[in-house]
Symmetry: C2
Subunit: 208 residues, 2 copies
Amino acid sequence: MNQQRDLIPEPALRRLPWYLAYVRLLREKNVEYVSSTQISRELKVDASQIAKDLSFLDIRGKTRIGYEVPLLEHKLEEFLGFRCRHRAVLVGAGSLGRALMQDSGLIQYGLEIVAAFDVDPRLVDTERYGIPIYDLARLGEICRRHKAGIGIVTVPVEYAQGTAEALIDAGVKAIWNFTPYRISVPEGVVIANTSIYAHLAVMYNRMG
Amino acid sequence: MNQQRDLIPEPALRRLPWYLAYVRLLREKNVEYVSSTQISRELKVDASQIAKDLSFLDIRGKTRIGYEVPLLEHKLEEFLGFRCRHRAVLVGAGSLGRALMQDSGLIQYGLEIVAAFDVDPRLVDTERYGIPIYDLARLGEICRRHKAGIGIVTVPVEYAQGTAEALIDAGVKAIWNFTPYRISVPEGVVIANTSIYAHLAVMYNRMG
């Protein structure tokens, strides 16, 4: 693991996937080089900011020409962790949980859901989109067997905190929380909140 | 529309759904009153911050007792726009698009997907999860018929900008962008970016 990775600030980290999306388009069009000025024009991000963000990657642009497109794509994917396979388990195979289980986009971004858990007897011991659904009672056993590092939480809000704790006990190092509940985690455990419904609130409000 | 709604800063707006999630738990347990101190302890947000955030709502707490739980829940839902029905169309009924179409949680947060669009002839004129899928060529006609105010963009990244423009031409006032592409919109149109894959990058990086 590159030491520089720890140093990158979150806003920069959040911009890198924009650059990756754009660079992929260029590569599909067989464009060979791209400069930060070009990326800047297209994405409306300051060019010096882009150069600074890209300085965290192990890549150097050529004067006047810029970055080699296929190399930049590769380095971005590598830096962002999209070229690895991260094993995750999902707890709560309800509507949102199943939505994530059927999204084949996740695997392209390095996330493999190896197992799901639920308490509903109609779901337990079935399989959806190729992912087995187990009884929640087997969480620890299955997590350890798969060495799952990430736990996805898509349970009803009242079970969010307890689910996260059970996942951490089972050895996961990161919680991806899709509930609107603010989960607390001990130091050393990563928490990522993706509250898609909170985004709705912001959108409604700004539509005024 | 309450004039105050325009004044609330985005960070406050993003915290309100946390309070709502917690208040709903209390209501289910038949708790009658809650103070900002209690919310603060549970959610690890500063109590004065909570009081300030809630001051945007049309509700007053009682000294020493706090807020009436059912009323606070109602006012939060109302303020956040979750009690209205917002009509949306979705463009791109691929994996992520269908994931959203099957998520019944959205309707509980006030979002009704009335139609979806795709270019794949195997999908056009079929229906998934009760939502009709139309040929993309009919976007303008169908959007106007439903008076859809929100356009959800779940197309491949190279079509993101063009799709947003077609939606805006068709009269939508807000774009909910799920692609990693940075869509530009004219002034007066709201853009909400939910890049779930960018969250993955942050999580991977922090797991180091």
